[in-house]
Amino acid sequence: MEKKYKSSYFAHVLKLAVILVVAGGLGIFARGIFLPETMGQYGHYRGSDIQDQRDVAIRNQTNDACFECHRPIRLIHKAGVHKTVSCEVCHGPYADHVKDGKVIGKLPVKRGMEIKELCLRCHNKVIKARPETVIKVVAMPQHLEEKKVQITHNCNQCHMVHDPLLWVRAAYEMAGVPMKEEKK
């Protein structure tokens, strides 16, 4: 009677220990199953995610990438004051046009009054927040009146969009008038 009592006295401690060990074991087992292999490799995150992040597809390329093929426009664009303007901002991302060295789609070319909209994104004087030391801003339609053209004129009737001063400079040259240096 005495013996039985003693054994059951330890039994519940033993039971508890067994339960704890089993639960712990199950926990470790579950952790092994549910946690990704590289978890904790470099820190508290999935180490292989660094590679996943690097594998994100590059969709925008550089202007140089466009100039690889688009030779004629390259000469104009690179020589003009718009050389810092990205091709892809107006025409769309490289990845929609070229894939693995093959042309897969046509990129849009802005036409008509869309061009004016594009120009005024940067050059609109009514937006006062633009630092005028950085960009030449024009007021519309005062600019057209000042230049004595019809106010229905589109920007690209005087300004070649890839080099806005190309035709203007040529016109001045033809007329034999020196072009006044305009502030940037």
């Binding site: 990704p36 999935r46 925008n60 994104r121 009514v126 006062k128 927040a129 630092p131 950085v134």
Partner: protein
């Protein structure tokens, strides 16, 4: 007559075949030329990136936004949307317009995150404008990010090279990090249902290209570079006496995104 016709047809077919062959040759040849042209590597914008073979880059990248140069054209927003196909209404980067009147009241707006550019002036400013400027916003890549601390599943983290990234496969979309970010750069991606934010174009940077927004900025208002490289522009800016500050310095997040010419009104 019949024979003649047959012969003519024969020639005709032959001619067509010949033309086909010539055409095929020409097209094939030109395609090959295009191939070889595109096979050439496009020059890297960050020198020395493509030679790196370590898991993390040894470079110490920082981002500088020059408020005094930003013209608010929204090119960066377009490039960013194109690069990641960001769903409408969510912005990884955006441009805010600040208007401060001479009663020191501050007006901020950002129509469609600046994606469509700024077309209209604000007409609801009661007093004369004292100061107005654009502030581009993006991930601050904090030295001590508060977003990574709150993630319950270890999905967002700061990598050894200083980039705060989100593991899309682990993120459960609980949104804790979105609330924790003092700069509100995170959003819940409506398609993947995971948290998403600007990564400073980690994939581009590791491939030697500048972040998309930096690459397209027409006025170099966004600058990105290696602080370890003593010849880099960002190093020079950080070393020379400029008005450099970060957003919400009191939060203690120590952003690696610095602003040049930032006004104290900007939050």
């Amino acid at each position: 007559m019949e024979d003649m016709k047959q012969l003519q047809e024969e020639i005709h077919r032959d001619r067509r075949g010949f033309l086909k062959k010539v055409l095929a040759g020409t097209i094939g040849g030109s395609l090959l030329m295009v191939y070889s042209a595109s096979g050439r590597e496009i020059a890297e914008q960050i020198p020395g990136m493509r030679e790196e073979d370590t898991v993390f880059t040894k470079k110490n990248f920082i981002f500088i936004v020059d408020i005094t140069r930003c013209i608010g054209c929204g090119s960066c927003c377009i490039a960013d949307k194109n690069e990641y196909n960001v769903p409408d209404g969510n912005y990884r980067t955006w441009v805010e317009r600040y208007i401060i009147d001479d009663h020191d009241e501050v007006f901020v707006d950002s129509p469609n995150g600046g994606l469509d550019g700024y077309t209209k002036p604000r007409t609801d400013i009661p007093y004369p404008v004292r100061d107005t400027f654009f502030v581009p916003k993006l991930c601050n890549m904090c030295e001590k990010p508060s977003c990574t601390q709150v993630c319950p599943v270890g999905a967002t983290y700061k990598s050894e090279d200083g980039f705060v990234l989100i593991d899309e496969k682990r993120c459960v979309g609980c949104g804790y990090c979105i609330q924790a970010c003092p700069y509100s750069v995170r959003f819940l991606h409506p398609v993947t249902k995971t948290a998403s934010k600007c990564t400073w174009c980690y994939h581009r940077v590791r491939d030697g290209l500048l972040p998309a927004c930096v690459s397209v900025c027409p006025v170099q208002a966004r600058k990105f570079g290696d602080l370890n490289d003593k010849t880099s522009e960002v190093y020079k800016i950080m070393r020379e006496p400029h008005i450099i500050s970060v957003l919400k310095p009191g939060m203690g997040n120590e952003p690696q995104l610095h602003y040049l010419g930032l006004r104290r009104e900007v939050v």
